[in-house]
């Protein structure tokens, strides 16, 4: 087509967003008619050269003002409620979503699938499966945007953000970085490729393979000496990490927190900021010693130690809310292991 007029709808939330937009367009047309209609009509009827009845009868100003305050107010509240509820769902992925790791850096997207396969600037996903992207940046802020899915999330350095969707139509779609990130911003693009489940499995096993993150994390866990304190015969008294992920952690000073991705990340890099109640703040910081990739792997390994998992398990098991919501949500949203 010479020019498209409507973007593809290729994921679960797309229709919902489009329906709200159609509602908003109709509302806008209504108000444009309500405003432009009288302007044009009065501009013609009461133009200075034209005789017209200009004697003003008394009207109740208050009634008029209240009407045109309340009507838009009610309409506004309706749109707020509908759009906010869709947004709320957008922010809360289901517990069984498949977790894909995304690292943004100037100017490319590095992606790793739970089974271990890596790709750059392309995101292959199976149709009909809830997908959760766990994302971080190595440098500046980027933003991960797939217009056909109507979804976007900023990708920040030093922090995990996430987004989720259920792809619903096979095909190739644009993937854009939409937070200005420097010279190559306009080239930080790629493709989201939605495959049938069978094709996705085939794609996973084709080409170059790499170790799955949880397994790689287990190696790092030994290599960096974490296991010296946190597992096996302990030299120093440190909390066990089995079953930690997703649990409520008591902290020094009568506080608690939920052990989500962000908590694990912070505990590795800034171990003394949130010390578990009853333990000495003796853990050294790993800031600057671990790449984002290594952190993802370590955390994937810790997740595989979640409740019900065997030590050294290989599946990233479950999933918690994104870090923004984590502090605010009751811990009841914990998922169970697959």
């Amino acid at each position: 087509m010479l020019f498209p007029i409507w973007p593809d709808e290729a994921a679960s939330g797309a229709q919902e967003v489009d329906q709200i937009v159609i509602g908003l367009v109709l509302m806008s047309l209504f108000f444009i008619i309500v405003v432009a209609g009288p302007i044009l009509y009065f501009g013609f009827k009461y133009r200075r050269s034209r005789p017209a009845n200009r004697v003003i009868s008394h009207h109740n100003t208050w009634a008029i003002e209240i009407t045109w305050t309340l009507v838009p107010l009610i309409i506004a509240v309706c749109f707020f409620v509908v759009a906010a509820s869709v947004y709320f769902r957008q922010r809360h992925p289901p517990a069984d979503a498949m977790e894909i790791h995304v690292i943004g850096k100037q100017w490319m997207w590095k992606i790793q699938h739970p089974q271990g396969k890596r790709e750059i600037n392309e995101l292959h996903v199976p149709v009909g499966v809830p997908i959760k992207l766990l994302m971080t940046s190595q440098d500046v802020i980027h933003s991960f945007y797939i217009p056909a899915f109507r979804i976007k999330q900023d990708v920040l350095p030093g922090r995990y953000t996430s987004m989720w969707f259920v792809p619903q139509k096979t095909g190739e779609y644009h993937l854009f970085c939409t937070q200005y990130c420097g010279e190559g911003h306009a080239r930080m693009t790629g493709k989201a490729i939605v495959l049938s489940k069978a094709d996705y499995q085939k794609w996973l096993t084709s080409g170059e393979q790499s170790e799955n993150p949880a397994k790689a994390g287990a190696e790092l866990f030994r290599q960096y000496g974490c296991s010296g304190c946190h597992a096996g015969s302990r030299v120093v008294r440190a909390p066990s990490l089995v079953g930690l992920y997703g649990s409520v952690v008591p902290l020094e000073g009568n506080k608690t927190t939920i052990a989500d991705d962000q908590y694990l990340r912070d505990s590795i890099l800034l171990p003394n900021s949130q010390v578990v109640a009853g333990y000495e703040p003796v853990m050294p910081s790993y800031q600057g010693k671990l790449s984002e990739d290594a952190l993802f792997s370590l955390i994937a390994y810790l997740k595989s130690l979640g409740p019900g998992a065997e030590e050294g398990g290989t599946q990233p098991l479950k999933y918690s809310n994104d870090m923004g919501a984590a502090q605010l949500l009751p811990s009841g949203s914990k998922g169970s292991a697959k």
Binding site: P7, L24, V35, R48, Y87, D154, Y180, H185
Partner: protein
């Protein structure tokens, strides 16, 4: 010929009288020259951007140059054109006249504001000449503080200095409005333009210091590597966004409230009617200024801000739309049973209502959380804020400039050309920016020097529109200059308008009024529309309209 040969405020011509004047009217003119200079620079950048975007693969500019150009465009348009446009030019000139005062409360401070403004502008220009800045006008950290090359510190310093000009102007207007009103000019007899300048000044005084602090923090992190925003230094990049939008959202209202004020003057004058719902329009100005401080988080729905905070900000953003809607309805109702003349200022005012309404309605798209997730950071946002800032503020500025031009210069501009320019501007504007709504919904990200080919059609439309818009901007420059020598003499009140500014000669004498006026009624006291419209006293140019027949 004007028989009144007494010296007006423009009589002196020495360099000293131009650069060291404390007359608010002369300072208003100084600001006019300054902002037009900065506007021209930013407009050239816009033209280059639009030319680059004709082709999906660019070709005209490198991505690096492109990034520097959109930063330049944003910085100069926002801080060196839009924010000072109506307040510092028209407000400076008209506010004391509307109040029946001899000058602003602090004339020397007013002059200092202008010098600070230019110092800031020249610093920013120096940053451009010295290599440019490619952060975007938003200066998001940690890109701006750690990763960007270029003259970020100089640019930020320029904006910092110009900020003090905003603060001083705001302070001056607030004190003037409180202290310098003519006898009998009570608050509810003030023209809406004064109300909106007052609301604007409140924002300038309260929000600009936050921007100043933020810019300082950016400088500190960039120069000394103190970790404030960059997480690798222990900072928080989202904190930057909170501080930035805490200033910049209210600043959006600095860029529209004065425009609403101008339109509230134009509509009653050219409809020969009292402004419908005056207290509601006045109250809406203040409400917008106050609630404008509570919605900054709507720029951050995808920033990793908590979804609960997002909901509060979304709700409040819908609430802040209501006073704007009230204003639009009251302007429209003012036309009812009026005696409407479609002179140039009125055309701009009606254009403003249409485009501001479109801009406001698309703001409701962006306030809707789930929709914002899709369209934020895209051309939809670009189109939306250009509808408010160009369709709103620039049209209001042009309307106000035409309306008060006879007061400022004592001369009329050619009316037919004026109408033509207003029409060309309106058409060019819509052709430029309407396609960008579609582009944005299709997913075209902003700040892209290159793009997928399927978006090209809309980019070509937009560039075509921009060239028409350019003609709309250029025409007034020529006929305004022409009018300085050849325009008909205006007389004190060519529009037969109410308002104290029209009760003194055009151009006004240095101290505005020979005797301080005394006010005994509200604004917009136009005679009942049933009686024939008043005609100008003999001896002056007839009003340049074709409506007398």
């Amino acid at each position: 010929m004007n028989t009144d040969q007494k010296a007006d405020y423009l009589a002196e011509h020495t360099l000293r009288s131009c650069l060291l004047t404390t007359d608010h009217k002369r300072i208003g003119l100084l600001y006019l020259f300054s902002i037009l200079f900065f506007f021209a620079i930013a407009a050239v950048a816009a033209a280059l951007i639009r030319l680059q975007l004709i082709s999906p693969t660019g070709g005209l500019l490198t991505t690096e140059t492109y990034n520097r150009l959109f930063t330049l465009h944003g910085v100069f348009m926002v801080w060196f054109f839009l924010i000072p446009s109506i307040p510092s030019v028209l407000g400076n000139f008209i506010l004391p006249l509307m109040l029946g005062a001899r000058d602003l409360a602090f004339p020397k401070l007013n002059l200092l504001s202008w010098y600070l403004f230019n110092a800031g502008g020249l610093l920013a220009l120096w940053a451009i000449v010295g290599g440019g800045v490619d952060t975007g006008w938003t200066f998001y950290a940690p890109y701006s503080t750690t990763y960007a090359n270029g003259q970020v510190v100089t640019m930020v310093a320029g904006i910092f200095v110009a900020g003090f000009s905003s603060i001083l102007t705001g302070l001056n207007f607030i004190v003037t409005t409180h202290q310098m009103r003519a006898p009998g000019l009570t608050w509810f007899r003030l023209p809406i333009f004064v109300w909106s300048l007052y609301a604007t000044s409140l924002i300038l005084v309260l929000a600009t210091p936050v921007l100043a602090m933020l810019l300082m923090l950016v400088g500190i992190e960039r120069i000394w590597g103190v970790g404030i925003f960059d997480p690798s230094l222990g900072g928080d990049p989202v904190l930057f966004q909170h501080l930035f939008w805490f200033y910049s959202h209210p600043a959006v209202y600095v860029m529209i409230l004065p425009g609403m004020g101008v339109v509230s003057e134009l509509i009653p004058c050219f409809a020969r009617k009292r402004l419908f719902g005056y207290p509601f329009v006045a109250g809406a100005s203040v409400a917008i200024a106050v609630f404008g401080f509570l919605v900054w988080g709507h720029h951050m729905f995808v920033s990793s801000q908590s979804p609960y905070a997002g909901m509060v900000f979304s709700f409040l953003s819908y609430m802040v739309a209501i006073p704007s809607a009230i204003k639009v309805f009251n302007w429209t109702a003012t036309l009812y049973k009026g005696s409407i003349a479609l002179d140039t200022p009125m055309l701009y005012a009606l254009g403003f209502i249409g485009l501001f309404t479109a801009g406001g309605l698309t703001g409701l798209f962006l306030a809707a959380l789930a929709v914002d997730v899709h369209v934020t950071h895209t051309y939809f946002v670009v189109a939306h804020f250009h509808y408010i800032m160009v369709g709103g503020m620039v049209l209001a500025f042009m309307g106000g400039l035409h309306y008060w031009w006879p007061k400022i210069t004592g001369r009329m501009y050619p009316e037919q050309l004026g109408r033509l320019a207003a029409l060309v501007t309106f058409i060019g504007f819509n052709l430029t920016f309407f396609p960008q709504f579609i582009l944005g919904y299709l997913g075209m990200p902003r700040r892209y020097a290159l793009y997928p080919p399927e978006f090209q059609f809309y980019h070509i439309l937009s560039t075509a529109g921009a060239s028409i818009l350019g003609v709309g901007y250029a025409l007034p420059v020529f006929y305004f200059l022409w009018s300085l020598k050849h325009g008909l003499r205006a007389g004190p009140n060519p529009w037969c308008a109410t308002g104290l500014e029209w009760q003194t000669p055009s151009p006004p004498p240095p101290y505005n009024f020979e005797t301080t006026p005394i006010v005994d009624s509200g604004p917009y006291n136009y005679p009942q529309p049933a009686s024939p419209p008043p005609t100008p006293p003999p001896g002056e140019a007839p009003r340049m309209t074709n409506t007398e027949s």
